[in-house]
């Protein structure tokens, strides 16, 4: 089985308490985790660190998640990076927009436990 250590994640989430707990959990089980508190920072970290998967919040200051996703898809590196949208914004329009731009999943935070998010991430890596 491939080790989690080989995988790099980026958490783009403006709410600190949610970001910390995700980071703690994901780094505890061995992922390498980068964090960003808004879309601009998220885009910069992504372009620099080239994560294997991005957990992307939608409602964020400076640059929202959908804009960050679009910018990523416009860049050479970001065309194919795995993106899981993890948000509390539950709107059909946003879901289809995210999916159009290649988000692999659209998860509502309040409906998903951390364990199930971890399972989803592992599934994406075929673990």
């Amino acid at each position: 089985m491939e080790s989690d250590k080989n995988k790099v994640l980026l958490i783009a989430e403006d709410e600190p308490s949610l970001r910390y707990i995700l980071r703690d959990k994901l780094s505890n089980i061995g992922f390498t985790v980068f964090e960003a508190a808004d879309g601009e920072e998220g885009l910069a970290v992504a372009m620099k660190e080239h994560p294997d998967l991005i957990l992307l919040d939608l409602v964020m200051p400076k640059m929202d998640g959908i804009s960050m996703l679009k910018k990523l898809r416009e860049s050479d590196w970001g065309k194919s990076v795995k993106v899981l949208v993890l948000t509390n914004l539950d709107e059909t329009g946003k879901i289809s927009e995210a999916v159009e731009h290649g988000a692999e999943e659209y998860l509502i935070k309040s409906d998903w436990s951390i364990e199930s998010i971890v399972a989803k991430i592992r599934e994406k890596f075929g673990m």
Partner: protein
């Protein structure tokens, strides 16, 4: 307390003071009333015309100890109403109807009560005073009884006798009109209750004195008689004068709702001021056109349906319609369109009334948007609680003792309930805003139901409820939006489990009947009380019998289920018997749930 109409016979009539008569009626059945209540006396026909009609209300002056014979007091002014004249001349033994009792005039729970009566206003208090005497249950009471100097006061001897024998009851007789010096304001306890009854002139004057003395109006109860002037000299308006004058035309012209008349083809022949104001077109601009001038925004089927109802079936139509004003603004109305028939029964035209509800809808929309926004905002702190309790309960952060685990599980459970509630609220607001999107695709019914059953497994097990399942193979795959079908099944199933006693049974079945997929969920639970059944799909409604047993329900589930079912082309109904159980049925056409797009304009 509601009144009940019954037959009565006039048994006596006595003059008890100048121009004041006491009448007695014997009832066909005894009535239950409280001292201080009143009755309507309906005379079968009036020997003298009276534009106020053949019914009057009177205080009952007898006591509940004789529930078959009740007495009233009235004074005859001259010239007088046709009603009272008729009552005065009515032969003993005549029939009348009594509608009683009405009004609740029980004595307030105060240390001191002051009754202020003018003339026959005493009738409001006689029953109360007589009842206290009969039962020997006197309370601290002062009666200030005013009587105009030209007339003798009714029942004064009786009241004087009570006052002489019962020191707790004080009678103050006032010759002429009652004024400030007769009223013990300032010397009475703060919680004193004032009961006033008499001619309007007197009650107004007394009330003004009490207000000036800073007495809380909430402590003053007032019953006034209209001045006798009402019975004479004023211009008369009755149905005849209303139809002779342009009364009805005035009413239509000045109504705040849009009113138009059209011929059979829909050509406008009349409109009122509001119609001009609401549509923005003047009558001159409308004349010769049809309401298409501002309408025509609904789809073709709608107008075909409308014409079929009003023209072919000749029935009134009512419903919500979108229109466009002359300035281009779209507005929403509740329209009612009725066929107008001529003397020979032929259709001659249509009457259309419309109420502009655009502003009301905006307010409603703002409210719903607020709920939607608030629900979204609630999700972040809920996620914080959910994830941190999950981590604390999980491995790797140091062990908790059993008690700590149990406490934390309760936090998690509460947060889960809140998460579900927020989700329901969001779905309700989507339904109300019309932003709910329903996308049917083939779904395995047994698998989807199994997921919902799985969620109920802990409760099924805890309450030892037996679950019966039966799925028709013809509809094992069914075109539905899994997200919403799941909400339907979850709600019906969790209700069935929640409202069934330990050891009961819950059954889920699907079948194909009359070209429809019917899903039913039945239980052997508490059932829905019959008088509450028609409210069961109302938002925030919870049945009386379950509110006592369970505090978890929000009153949103069934409202949401019904809205989803109807929005997606299905129907929902139920059968229920209190104490025996309930079955909910949901039916969709065999072709599946109907797709619904975001229909916000």
């Amino acid at each position: 307390m509601d009144g009940r109409k019954q037959e009565a016979v006039l048994t006596s009539r006595k003059l008890v003071a100048d121009g004041a008569y006491e009448v007695s009626f014997e009832l066909s059945e005894s009535i239950q009333f409280a001292p201080g209540q009143y009755a309507w006396v309906i005379l079968p026909e009036l020997a003298h015309p009276d534009r106020r009609g053949n019914r009057r209300s009177f205080s009952i002056i007898s006591t509940p100890s004789d529930a078959k014979n009740i007495r009233f007091l009235f004074r005859v002014h001259s010239p007088n109403s046709g009603y009272k004249k008729t009552l005065l001349e009515l032969p003993l033994g005549s029939r009348a109807q009594i509608d009683a009792p009405f009004g609740l005039h029980t004595l307030p729970n105060a240390t001191t009560i002051i009754m202020v009566a003018g003339g026959v206003g005493i009738s409001s208090f006689l029953s109360i005073i007589r009842d206290m005497e009969e039962r020997g249950a006197w309370r601290q009471l002062t009666l200030i009884f005013g009587n105009s100097s030209q007339k003798s006061a009714p029942f004064l001897d009786e009241l004087r006798m009570y006052a002489k024998n019962r020191p707790i009851f004080e009678l103050r007789e006032v010759e002429g009109s009652i004024s400030k010096e007769h009223l013990p304001v300032g010397t009475t306890p703060k919680d004193t209750r004032w009961l006033l009854a008499g001619p309007k002139e007197m009650t107004n004057k007394v009330a003004a004195v009490l207000t000036a003395a800073d007495i809380d109006p909430g402590r003053v109860l007032c019953e006034e008689f209209p001045p006798p002037a009402l019975d004479k000299g004023l211009p008369v308006i009755d149905e005849q004068t209303m139809s002779d004058s342009n009364f009805y035309k005035l009413a239509v012209e000045n109504a705040s709702n849009h009113v138009i008349f059209t011929d059979i083809e829909g050509t406008i022949v009349y409109c009122n001021k509001a119609a001009e104001h609401i549509t923005g077109y003047t009558f001159e601009e409308m004349r010769g056109s049809t309401p298409r001038l501002w309408g025509g925004l609904m789809d073709k089927n709608f107008y075909e349906h409308l014409w079929r109802i009003i023209k072919r079936e000749r029935k009134p139509y009512s419903g919500k319609i979108k229109n466009r004003r002359k300035n281009g603004e779209v507005y929403t109305v509740i329209a009612r369109i009725s066929p107008v028939l001529g003397r020979d029964g032929d259709l001659i035209g249509f009457l259309g009334t419309e109420e502009d509800i655009t502003d009301l809808e905006k307010i409603d929309q703002a409210k719903t948007e607020f709920v939607s926004l608030a629900s979204h905002q609630l999700r972040s702190p809920l996620s914080v609680i959910n994830w941190y309790t999950e981590m604390l309960l999980g491995e790797g952060v140091g062990g908790l003792n059993e008690k700590q685990k149990r406490y934390l599980s309760e936090v998690k459970n509460g947060s889960r309930r809140m998460t579900e509630l927020v989700k329901d609220l969001l779905n309700v607001s989507r339904l109300e805003l019309g932003t709910l999107v329903i996308e049917p695709r083939p779904v395995s019914l047994p698998a989807l139901i199994a997921e919902a059953v799985q969620e109920q497994a802990p409760d099924l097990h805890k309450k030892n409820i037996k679950l019966n399942e039966s799925y028709a193979p013809q509809v094992s795959t069914f075109p539905a939006d899994p997200k919403f079908l799941k909400i339907i099944v979850q709600n019906l199933l969790s209700n069935a489990v929640k409202y069934t006693q330990d050891g009961g049974e819950v059954s889920v079945r699907t079948e194909l009947a009359d070209g429809k997929m019917v899903l039913s969920v039945s239980d052997t639970g508490y059932g829905i009380p019959e008088d509450q059944q028609r409210k069961i799909f109302t938002k925030l409604f919870r049945a009386r019998n379950v509110v006592k047993k369970d505090t978890e329900g929000s009153g949103i589930g069934l409202y949401l289920v019904k809205s989803i079912v109807e929005r997606s082309g299905g129907s929902i109904w139920f059968t229920s018997k209190e104490g025996a159980g309930t079955t909910f049925f949901v039916a969709f056409p065999a072709e599946g749930m109907r797709a619904q797009r975001d229909d916000i304009m």
